[in-house]
Symmetry: C2
Subunit: 428 residues, 2 copies
């Protein structure tokens, strides 16, 4: 008997009908002879509606109370899901984050899991029950208060439960069929991947792929959890996220698992670019600038520094960051203009980032040349470039991004035979 952890997001439990559909899938898994533990998100737009209510009663809601408020969303969905399963003749019990032993630090709104003690879940499983756990929420032992895990928290809940319970697989359900070689809404010829390595998945998630959250992938990699990204709306296989060990094992079985050079193309329009113009070209200025930005709470992604113009002894430094962080970062920098000694700031939120990811890049040359040539032929201008061991990212105009993704997808031989938009949903 296998132990399967499943995670269903908000769009999978948006209304009574969806909840019944998910209940049936869970019951089918149980009927298949498996123990089942389910992490579930709040229904549809519940979390946004609660945030909206909070904003109406308090301009800056107290973080402890905001977590108390938001944690009610999963209580609703998990209780309804347990009822639906129950009425199909199967024993099901729902547990809040604290009941499930999801112990976190005390950072309200973005708590980190510090321990998982699923004593009650084990008991319920031993008694033959299907276990439903509230995603996204935890509990701090010192303050005895309820916490939430922040964005993508339910994915993390599922993976953490899978690790703590030593589950055979952690199935993350969404409204798409798995991990694609590109976003099918942008690249119609994208195709689903049967497997992807966890390091590739991390790069794809970090660079705009939305099906899995990076934090959950990291947690899975660290705790050796096998993730299976699947669709709530089809029974087909999705994408397995394999660590190196599993990948090697599969390769030994002769599954023809030759490492692809490029696995996928990720796109991201969620970033903005800030350029600091006329920075004195003396040591320590970049450190000053990024200290200011870091203190403002912004998460810098790519950084480019131009060569200094000899005549002026000044240079320009550009960096990208999430659009939502730009205003704070700009304000922080403007406040230190005199001390840093730069000339001006330019803010640009019409950029798009295209990333090419593939573990095979380590051992193959000429990968970047293919990218640059494809973009050049199409007339797309590259504004910034950054690379990692298994990724090349470029910043282009946001308006060029879709076309760039399509030509690059073709250039790396990723195009599938059929139109992927037939299979894929519209996102999470």
């Amino acid at each position: 008997m296998a132990l399967i952890v499943q995670k269903y997001g908000g769009s999978s439990v948006a209304d009574a009908e969806s909840i019944k559909r998910v209940a049936k899938r869970i019951v089918d898994t149980r009927r298949g002879g498996n123990d089942v533990v389910v992490a579930v998100s709040a229904m549809g737009d519940t979390t946004d509606e609660l945030l909206d209510l909070a904003g109406q009663v308090a301009p800056i809601p107290a973080p402890r109370e905001l977590d108390m408020l938001l944690s009610s969303g999963e209580r609703i969905s998990m209780a309804l899901l347990a009822m639906a399963i129950h009425s199909m003749g199967f024993e099901a019990r729902s547990f809040t984050g604290s009941q499930a032993g999801m112990i976190t630090d005390s950072t309200h709104g973005a708590a980190r899991i510090v321990d998982v003690t699923p004593v009650r879940l084990r008991e319920a499983l031993d008694e033959g029950a299907i276990v439903i756990v509230a995603g996204f929420q935890g509990f701090n032992r010192d303050t005895r208060d309820i916490t939430t895990l922040g964005r993508g928290g339910s994915d993390t809940t599922a993976v953490a439960l899978a690790a703590a319970l030593n589950a055979d697989v952690c199935e993350i359900y969404s409204d798409v069929d798995g991990i694609f070689t590109a976003d099918p809404r942008i690249v119609p010829k994208a195709h689903k991947l049967d497997t992807v390595s966890s390091e590739e998945m991390l790069e794809l998630a970090a660079n705009g792929a939305k099906v899995l959250y990076i934090r959950a992938v990291e947690y899975a990699r660290r705790h050796d959890v096998l993730i299976h990204a699947r669709s709530t709306f089809s029974s087909g296989e999705g994408t397995l996220v394999l660590d190196e060990k599993r990948r090697a094992a599969l390769a030994q079985q002769g599954d023809g698992m030759e490492e692809p050079i490029v696995t996928g193309v990720a796109t991201d329009v969620g970033q903005a670019k800030i350029t600091v113009i006329g920075v004195p070209d003396v040591p320590g200025k970049a450190a000053e600038i990024f200290n200011i930005v870091a203190k403002s709470g912004a998460n810098v992604d790519m950084i480019v520094q131009n060569v200094s113009a000899a005549a002026t002894g000044r240079t320009d430094i550009s960096f990208t960051l999430p659009k939502g962080d730009a205003a704070t970062a700009l304000k922080a920098l403007a406040g230190e203009q005199t001390s840093v000694g730069f000339e001006s700031l330019v803010h640009d939120d019409q950029i798009g980032k295209l990333s090419v990811v593939g573990a095979g890049m380590r051992t193959h040359s000429g990968v970047s040349a293919t990218l640059f040539e494809a973009l050049s032929v199409t007339g797309v201008n590259i504004e910034m470039i950054s690379t990692s061991e298994i990724r090349i990212s470029v910043v282009v105009r946001a308006s060029d991004l879709a076309e760039a993704a399509r030509v690059v997808h073709t250039a790396y031989g990723l195009d599938g035979d059929t139109d992927a938009t037939v299979y894929a949903g519209t996102g999470r």
Copy 2:
């Protein structure tokens, strides 16, 4: 410094504006130099909406899960209320039923409070915080599951907190100004009572008065809690519910607290009447019938047995019960028709009950004569009569009830000088 417990019902926290209004009132109480503990219900129709959702996913929702579901309603309202207070510059902390130490038995949907251990509330009060507690919900120690207290549960929460914390007063807020001599929507000349004894309040609540729930009044009486029924929408004094000790103390102070003969007139259209026709007039038949009804789960209120018709050796037995219980009771009786040997069943849901309540009835005669005469003059037919030490109830046609209440109210000299509908809301 006094400790004041306040309870706000769903209509008092129906939307963001209402929540901010309630927050202001709580802050004003705190500014007045008092410690404040608040029990709050779910917003507006939240509980009904959640029940509706439950009905959509499961015909008979699992009781444990239904409690988990419903308990989310107060989490939302209490967190929003705490936020609103917080943003007015006052420290406020919300606590779930289990965090507040509201220990109950394990009867899901109608749990009884077995202990209140408000350790965390004491700590929060000692640290100067305003305490917000989820009404209606508790926690069972053995199953470690969340429970709900059933109808009127938030009133009970408030009174139980007041008892456990030894509060000076328990203020129950609703959208009416207090306890009236009759329902102002039916009897426009009803007036607000400054005080009412707890035994009178019990009779009024049990016979249709909706402002306070009988269970909370019972709990308050047993644990010596002073209830103050007030309006969320005005700052005026409401009605104090006094136990005998307090009433005696007030009387000694020479407050002119002469015990009224009749304190109020309660009306109830929530009952139905079942008549069992042609019951063999032999010993034990009534016991048989009411055993069957009790086993069906129905709560019988009034019972009338006619004198036997000598010719047939048979009699008719009528009883009233909540409308919602009638179908089950009828079915149970019909199933035993042969064994009991009655001839037929008549169901009548067009009845109204009028009750006259007053502690002075104990020591005054002629109280019932006034009632019967007033109804007779108005041409209202009395179908059933029952009495307690301080109450007389009659069943009349539902269509006669409003007029009956008005003439009886006048006959006992209860009419106020002004039209009460100006002050009173439309119910809870």
